[in-house]
């Protein structure tokens, strides 16, 4: 049996039913992005009134925040959909069904996008209305930045899901915390040059670093740096391939350890 869009759709339908049946889940999707935006947005408004730093040019702080949320929520949305199966003890049913791992992953990607849309659209509207977020200024670059960050989030989510398969819910906290490793390194709010020289190669190995550098170039110079987009895209290919191999290896390890049927603590 080959890849089946129907099976991907079936699993997406399962998550849609779940979200539709639980308003707290929907609220949670919107709550944090909006709360973050309000906090940092007001800070930006205050700071812009008292300084002319390039940090705030064209709403760079709020733009960085929104794109950071895309990266963070892309990974969380992917991993949480997977965790829903572990929490509901449904993983055994799915793994014993004809659903292939690639179809499972595709459904998690689709739901990651759906969750992002629910969470980010209200936050983006607020950012445009109140905090000087200039979507038109970012232009086509915004779509490229969005896509590149989501793919990085999926790559990280794939490894997190593999670790949960192998180690059970003991690895759950990674889903919530792992992206914070990226926060200081991928230069969300400041240029790469701020980092110590010895740390910069590590930062450059992260696709989001190139995206945030690209964002700042658009906002301050009005230039969409294709070289930065290409670097992020190439790194993303490497990351997603490596994550796929890691997921497959962790799945095999879980089969060997016999943990798939009792995926819990």
């Amino acid at each position: 049996m080959s890849f089946s869009v129907q099976r991907v759709g079936a699993l997406c339908l399962r998550y849609v039913y779940l979200l539709a049946s639980s308003w707290p889940r929907l609220l949670e999707l919107v709550y944090w992005p909006v709360l973050n935006l309000l906090t940092w947005g007001f800070l930006q408004n205050y700071a812009m009134a008292s300084t002319n730093s390039t940090l705030f040019v064209g709403g760079a702080l709020v733009s960085g925040l929104l794109l950071w949320e895309v990266l963070f929520r892309g990974q969380i949305g992917f991993s949480i959909s997977f965790l829903e199966e572990v929490w509901s003890r449904n993983l055994g049913n799915l793994l014993m069904s004809p659903l292939r791992p690639a179809e499972f992953v595709a459904a998690l990607m689709v739901m990651s996008l759906a969750r992002l849309a629910v969470g980010m659209i209200p936050a983006t509207i607020l950012a445009i209305a109140f905090f000087g977020f200039d979507l038109a200024r970012l232009g086509i670059g915004f779509a490229a930045f969005f896509a590149l960050l989501v793919v990085t989030g999926w790559a990280v989510g794939l490894v997190v899901c593999g670790l949960i398969l192998r180690h059970g819910l003991g690895a759950e906290s990674l889903a919530w915390t792992i992206m914070f490793v990226f926060w200081p390194l991928c230069c969300v709010y400041y240029p790469l040059s701020v980092l110590p020289a010895w740390l910069q190669p590590f930062a450059l190995a992260l696709p989001p670093t190139h995206v945030f550098e690209g964002m700042r170039a658009v906002l301050s110079e009005g230039v969409l740096r294709l070289d930065l987009l290409a670097a992020a895209a190439a790194l993303n290919v490497l990351w997603i391939v490596a994550a796929s191999f890691a997921f497959a290896a962790l799945l095999d390890r879980a089969r060997d350890a016999g943990t798939l049927l009792s995926s819990g603590e």
Binding site: S88, L95, P98, R255, L261
Partner: protein, 253 residues
């Protein structure tokens, strides 16, 4: 009836199956076959290797050595070629609680590619007395109702091979008996092979043509329930189970 299948007709075939978890040998050289249209029980105390064996037959646990095939397909390497023709029920898994029974069955029906899914759900709901429960959240059901829903899920694709772990756990005697009757009729109508693990000896005597007694990962005995009772000089399968579990073989004919 104790029918050892030839490889050509076996729905499930296990050969020299070994599973080690680190230094612990959970399954130690099992070989057996299960024919279509028959019900076989795996019996044994806790840690005898039943769940690990079923996990390997499902392809969710990798054997250390040996082979497992279902409907002629190698479950280690090509399990996705045959998963749409089998199904399982286990108390170790559950269905999403917030979804209604109908939503859960619909999703699994789509995963298994069931044609005329609405009709299939209606038929199963009628057969398993679930019609009034279809639009209730699965998490609001009683334990017995959940077991019937899990069975409906296990039957959604009319599987040729069913793996059942404690299929009537949590059911009252009347409902449990009714479910056993349903499984018997399904097996006979579909010609399905059923492999079950159960601690309910009455259930095993009623449902199974054959019992494989496991102890410490090895086959301790393998015969029909009636033959085992005769062989051990006992009056019930429960007494045979205790003899095997406690290593009492002095009465074995």
């Amino acid at each position: 009836m104790c029918s050892v299948m030839s490889p050509a007709t076996a729905a499930i075939e296990v050969e020299n199956l070994v599973k080690n978890y680190g230094p612990v040998r959970a399954v130690d050289g099992l070989s057996f076959a299960v024919a279509g249209g028959s019900t076989t029980a795996l019996l044994g105390g806790n840690g005898a290797g039943k769940s690990t064996t079923i996990g390997m037959i499902m392809g969710l646990v990798l054997p250390t050595s040996g082979t497992v095939s279902v409907l002629g397909t190698d479950m280690v390497r090509r399990r996705h070629d045959v998963l749409h023709r089998m199904n399982f029920e286990s108390p170790y898994v559950d269905m999403p609680h917030r979804l209604t029974v109908r939503q859960n069955l619909k999703i699994f029906g789509m995963l298994y590619g069931v044609p005329d899914l609405s009709g299939r759900i209606a038929t199963l709901a009628g057969e398993l007395d679930l019609t009034a429960l279809l639009d209730r959240p699965s998490g609001k059901l009683s334990a017995g109702q959940k077991t019937r829903v899990a069975l409906a899920k296990a039957l959604i694709n009319e599987p040729e091979v069913m793996l059942l772990d404690e299929p009537t756990a949590s059911l009252d005697p009347d409902t449990a008996d009714w479910i056993r009757g349903h499984l018997e009729r399904y097996r006979d109508r579909r010609g399905a092979a059923i492999l079950l693990a159960s601690h309910n000896m009455g259930e095993v005597e009623r449902l199974c043509d054959r019992v494989i007694m496991l102890k410490q990962g090895r086959i301790e005995d393998d015969a029909s329930p009636a033959e085992l009772i005769r062989r051990y000089g006992r009056s019930s399968l429960e007494e045979v189970f205790l003899d095997v579990a406690r290593g009492r073989r002095e009465n074995v004919a």
